[in-house]
């Protein structure tokens, strides 16, 4: 700041024991305001920036017409970079040009405008209120004998939207059959098959430390509803050393030789739980880090889930294929209000193990 601007006019500051506003700071002219050569130079700079934009547009169009993009990674990437950079110049040129023009050549001497109170004047407010009162009187509603009119109006207007909303909302819910959440495709004798190709799995294939991603046999043949069924039916088939497996009471015949099957749908909010740590037997869900201990009934040992993963009771058929003994004994996936109400798919003595 130059010295003339630092006015220490003490007298100004102490009027009436209140501070006094010093007013707008003096305007400092820019180089382009006083020096015509600087102004000319600024003009040339602005024009150059606009020119850069034109070059950018030409470059963009050239790349667009000349390119011969194939679906190879390098080809797509090259066209992307070239178009991006030329489009950038095309746009940035105009932007920086306009801004440079405003900063160097356009008026920068500040102006002052008075504000007016936003509220309408008292006078106008009174008139407005009077108009409303006049209108109310004109409507014939101001006498008390019109309560029937008012009541019926309000009732009719309040109910009318239902005529639209109820069908609109009602039609959006499909068949509204929420009881489908209780059942999956698994049934007695359904073979466990590899995800995604659907070939059935033999018990002998499952060596210690293996993890198989499993779907029910027949899922891939479904014409409709395949993903909906898959979203409930996916299972993890794990084999650990039988000495490490603590079989839960009442589930002695749900597994064999250290081979267990659990639902892959997290009991927190439904992501696939798939990160199996072979040595610790912990199963981690990548979405919110719920961790399940497969050696101990897949109960929760960390994270936001509360319930253990539902276990699929499995056995071996006479050909050596692994089969389900029944559907899960509880609804799979996230919790919902009436999850424990209503008939469960296969009522059995063993309920979910939780506190």
């Amino acid at each position: 700041m130059s010295t003339e601007e630092k006015q220490h006019t003490n007298s100004q500051q102490h009027a009436d024991g209140q501070w006094v506003d010093p007013g707008l700071p003096p305007h400092r002219p820019r180089r382009a305001d006083v020096d015509p050569k600087a102004a000319k130079r600024a003009e040339r700079q602005v024009a150059a920036l606009f020119g850069l934009s034109i070059l950018g547009t030409i470059a963009t169009l050239t790349v667009y017409f000349v390119q011969d993009q194939t679906e190879e990674v390098a080809s797509i990437r090259l066209v992307n970079i070239l178009l991006g950079i030329s489009l950038c110049f095309a746009m940035l040129g105009i932007g920086l040009g306009a801004i440079h023009w405003a900063r160097t050549l356009m008026r920068d001497h500040e102006m002052v405008e008075e504000r007016h109170a936003l509220r309408t004047s008292d006078e106008n407010r009174e008139i407005a209120v009077q108009y409303l009162k006049d209108g109310a009187e004109d409507s014939g509603l101001t006498t008390s004998r019109r309560t029937l009119l008012k009541g019926s109006l309000i009732t009719a207007v309040a109910l009318a939207p239902l005529a639209i909303l109820v069908p609109q909302i009602g039609n959006m819910g499909g068949d509204w059959n929420v009881s489908k959440l209780r059942h999956t495709m698994w049934a007695k004798g359904t073979k466990l098959a590899r995800d995604p190709d659907g070939t059935p799995i033999k018990a002998a294939d499952v060596t210690i430390g293996s993890v198989f991603h499993v779907i029910p046999e027949g899922l891939n043949d479904l014409e409709h509803g395949k993903l909906e069924e898959k979203a409930k039916a996916v299972v993890l088939l794990i084999r650990m050393d039988p000495r490490d497996l603590n079989i839960q009471p009442g589930r002695e015949d749900w597994s064999f030789d250290g081979i267990v099957a659990y639902s892959k749908i997290c009991t927190h909010v439904g992501c696939p739980v798939a990160l199996y740590e072979q040595q610790t037997h912990h199963l981690l869900c990548p979405c919110h880090q719920s961790t399940f201990d497969v050696a101990n009934g897949a109960k929760v040992i960390f994270g936001p889930a509360k319930r253990p993963l539902p276990q699929l009771p499995i056995a071996v058929d006479d050909e050596g294929y692994i089969i389900a003994q029944s559907d899960f004994h509880e609804p799979v996936g996230p919790s919902y209000w009436d999850r424990l109400k209503g008939t469960s798919p296969s009522p059995s003595a063993s309920q979910e193990a939780d506190a």
């Binding site: 990674v73 390098a74 430390g209 293996s210």
Partner: protein, 260 residues
Amino acid sequence: MNALARRRYSKSAPVFLVLILLALLTAIGFAANGSPAEASTASADDIAEGQKLFAANCASCHGLDAQGTEGVAPSLIGVGAAAVDFQVGTGRMPAQQSGPQVQEKKPQFDDEQISQLAAYVASLGEGPAIPTDEMVDPTLGDPAVGMELFRTNCAMCHGSIGGGGALTQGKFAPNLWSTSNRHIYEAMLVGPQSMPVFNDANITPENKRNIIAYLDFQQQGSPGGLKLGSIGPVAEGFWGWLVALGLIIASTIYVGARAS
């Protein structure tokens, strides 16, 4: 080989037999653009050398007969040459300390020593063999099939393109971009440390090659430009704030600043 088997033959017979077999297979190997030694063609010298290396470097944790030590190191009987080639070849073994996460580091042994160790461990019990070059050649695999398998079996730990990911308690599944194709195959087959076992009945050898082809494809980079670590939306958000918003706020300061 156990003592009972050894007594059935004269002492030198196995040596000659193995040498003949080695010669035969080497000839076949040259003709078919062959591979480094498979476990079954390892010479008795290799096995003996391997045993010496094992006793000096591995037995302290794994036991002199590779039977394992409870709570410290597993038994290696039946793990096969593939496991040794992977663990020692990526430098994970010898491990500095025992635990479920063993980090990759600079290998302590050269290729010859690794194959000797592998031969020795393979001789202890039948186990998965080291794959041939053909088995891990990405040009013979289908990346599309490989991707479908990768995202079902591997992506949850290793990330959608093998960039790596966190497991519990500080463990992690490593980045695969600089892992050799052979080591990738072996890891799938063997299930090292926290990784599950994907035996050939689970993911067939062809499919393992398809997965390798998928990972190899990813070496071409991204068609959209720089990858930002392929970390996903978190990195995108971070760079969006830092670079995109940062550049734009810098330009607002330029717009609002007085011209000289």
